[in-house]
Symmetry: C2
Subunit: 261 residues, 2 copies
């Protein structure tokens, strides 16, 4: 965007080198104080469990008066309150974001200019959020192409448990139940298996953190999935084809609510 | 293909009309005897439960000496034996096929010339199969672009339960567990939910038939999925992040065996 200066902080020197090589116009450094100087919007992109530590390092820097710190983390309950507190005594303020975009891949090599185009971006203001901060953050994501949704951190965690963390865990379960015994069945696979399990190729380290952080909501969603599996098993065992047809038709009606791309 | 005459039999007159409109070079009719006259390869494309009835109608027609009847059904155990028996006393012979291709859509409007390109096609010869019939059937599918795999009907049913029927049922379970309580979470969905649940948009009538026909293998696969869900729930409840990471890494290693498209 014209008039916008982008800077990147990274922990590892090799990551900074990669940014400098691939994005020559961008200032990149491992020194957080240098990068934060005069910055008006900082986006935390790292595993959730590391956010409070980095946030404290940022809070100890000299910060611009109008600084908003946001994040792109997949869980909000707990972490939003903790980060809000960290910046409460500084010039800056924290406000949570979660753009619903990405893939099973990580790293700069998989960056795409249209990643956020038409993606939902959930922002999670609280009672402490200033309206002008919320307005600026919304503008930032809208300029990247997002549709904005506002939720409390708790509503966010419930929603993403159902629409993102549950599909992830069931893609993992599908992969294991299909292949753990004998992976040679993979030779006969088609688009159905490929799509249903795509996200199971995601980073285990990152996803273990996400699922553990949101475990209360993920457990509730997995328990619902578990009872749906039990319903299915019961229909198959009792050969109740009519009930099975209704069960499949209910899923189809819900899935068909999603507009075709 | 040059030198090949294609004919279509359909039960409904409107379906025949649609074929005539969209494929002017093709002979289409609701009269099975007319369509079968002099035909050397017939492909049964219909719900599995209707195959034996139609096969008996075909067996009652005047048939060419070299006729092979095959199918594209998703379950083989039971149906292959029954269809073999039906054609045993005729000039024709039955031999099962299952091209692993398609989508959640049905109908002529979704036909694609490259549907079978690089797809696996499982053929299921038995002790009764003549080698020259198997060779001709293989050639047919190879010319359409398929990679051939040979299995017994029983091996086929085990394999597709894992690689196709299980992903289908878990896509249905994911959809229901995500949306049954409150479908509004769909507004926040991204590519992960879209891909993981795509096949849940499939025809409930057709899939109820498939799952019921293959219920022994599908029940075994769903029980494995159910215990994987229980493992996951246990890790989340006991906050065993290390075990969760290993569980996710095992799924990733298996999913990464699938070559990128």
């Amino acid at each position: 965007m014209p008039g916008v200066e982008v800077r990147v902080w990274a922990r590892r020197a090799e990551a900074v080198e990669e940014v400098r090589r691939m994005l020559p116009g961008v200032i990149a450094s491992t020194d957080i104080a240098t990068v934060m100087q005069g910055v008006s919007l900082a986006v935390l992109c790292m595993p959730i469990q590391h956010m409070p530590g980095i946030a404290r390092q940022i809070a100890a820097c000299e910060l611009a008066d109008d600084l908003i710190v946001t994040d792109v983390g997949s869980v909000k309950g707990g972490v939003v309150g903790e980060l809000e507190d960290i910046f409460m005594s500084t010039h800056g303020a924290f406000l949570g974001s979660h753009p619903m975009a990405g893939s099973q891949h990580t790293g700069l090599a998989h960056a795409r200019g249209d990643l956020f185009h038409q993606a939902a971006c959930i922002v999670t203001p609280t009672a402490h959020t200033k309206p002008q901060h919320l307005a600026r953050l919304r503008t930032f994501w809208v300029k990247l192409g997002c549709r904005i949704q506002e939720m409390t951190p708790q509503q966010h965690d419930h929603c993403v448990a159902r629409i993102s963390h549950l599909p992830h865990t069931l893609a993992v379960v599908t992969t294991l139940a299909a292949l753990r015994q004998d992976a040679r069945v993979l030779d006969s696979s088609a688009g159905g298996f490929r799509d249903t399990t795509r996200v199971a190729g995601g980073d285990p380290e990152m996803w273990a953190g996400i699922l553990m952080q949101n475990r209360t909501e993920v457990i509730a969603a997995l328990e619902d999935a578990s009872s749906a599996v039990r319903e299915l098993l019961e229909m198959l065992r009792s050969m109740d084809e009519e009930a099975l047809r209704r069960f499949l038709a209910q899923a189809k009606a819900l899935r068909d609510l999603l507009p075709a791309v």
